[in-house]
Symmetry: D2
């Protein structure tokens, strides 16, 4: 089974084999990433919240592809910036746990509800 680090190397080799590294400035990759994020949003824009949680199999497969595209660009930009994604997430969860203490924010989306 693939792990994030192995995927990082494969994505890097994929870009190098196509001589695409020249286009992969973080600025450009951030643009590509948000374009993929918008393709995800597009699947949900006219659905109710409930419908978005109960996708038909074909639609779910399309959504999974968008999630993969976002993950690929996220891995790629982190690689170009020498950021360890898992480590960054690990630290951010700790920051969030302090910022949003469970006993104070329970059930409130008004001021909190952000990771």
């Amino acid at each position: 089974m693939a792990d994030l680090d192995e995927l990082r190397i494969r994505i890097r080799q994929f870009a190098e084999a196509r001589d695409w590294d020249q286009y992969h400035a973080p600025k450009n990759l951030a643009m590509a990433l948000i374009v993929e994020a918008a393709e995800l949003v597009e699947h949900f824009q006219w659905l109710s919240e409930a419908q978005s949680q109960a996708l038909a199999p074909e639609k779910l497969a399309q959504v999974a592809e968008e999630l993969a595209d976002i993950q690929i660009y996220l891995i790629r930009i982190a690689d170009k910036l020498n950021v360890d994604l898992l480590d960054a997430v690990d630290k951010k969860i700790a920051v969030n746990a302090k910022k949003y203490p469970a006993d104070k924010v329970r059930g409130s989306a008004k001021k909190y509800n952000e990771f």
Copy 2:
């Protein structure tokens, strides 16, 4: 060291402990994800491509936090949809390898250059 699956469980528990699960319809999470993607884009919008590859340490730390935020929402939405992120990426790389054969697209961003 954390892996993606362990982070998935921690993020799920984080949301449950705050009773946020009620807000985490995939529709809403997709919105939250693109908002984080835009915060990444904002760091780069007035920089040249070269500048975006050579960030000062403080700026890089901020960018790493945005990458973490995107990763967290990506893990969360995949969890809510029962999508295996690493498996989805694995498959998408294979699809892309067929779609963009290295020997045909080398160095061209015009029609190709997409993961």
Copy 3:
């Protein structure tokens, strides 16, 4: 009362007076525009559809500011590209009217429901 063309001139002068024109490549302005669009999305991400239609006055004032920011960057990028916004909208509505005939798509968001 201001019209779009007068605003276009004022926004142009605003940028020139600050020597910002050098940063206003369409690429960069497109990034700035989507960042503002995300600030709009952020206001709505945890609201239900019904709540999003019934904003409190203070929240509505903040949303109106985001709409203004999007409009400003839209005017600016159109100006830099010599695109007449109102004319482009006029033409696009005509295209859409052909693409989505009212008698065929009534009430369906599945395949249609796009301007």
Copy 4:
């Protein structure tokens, strides 16, 4: 020649004739707007800043259509929220003029350079 207010009425009638008003909660329209903004960004993601200012006629026509799509959704969401777009822009420019005094921020994109 069309003005913004006339377009607002035409876009409203367009939606009503297709019974789409039911889908046009501001939450959903904000999603649709950012999707169109991303289609604009996509045109520029692999271009240099200089290339983005010198588009070929065919590409420019496509970009103009994206600008129109963004403008249409912006008009639509403002209409649903009873926000006067031109008035909001007029006020925001005044706010920005105070926030970014021309004599203090000239040529600096570091802390300023935002409308």
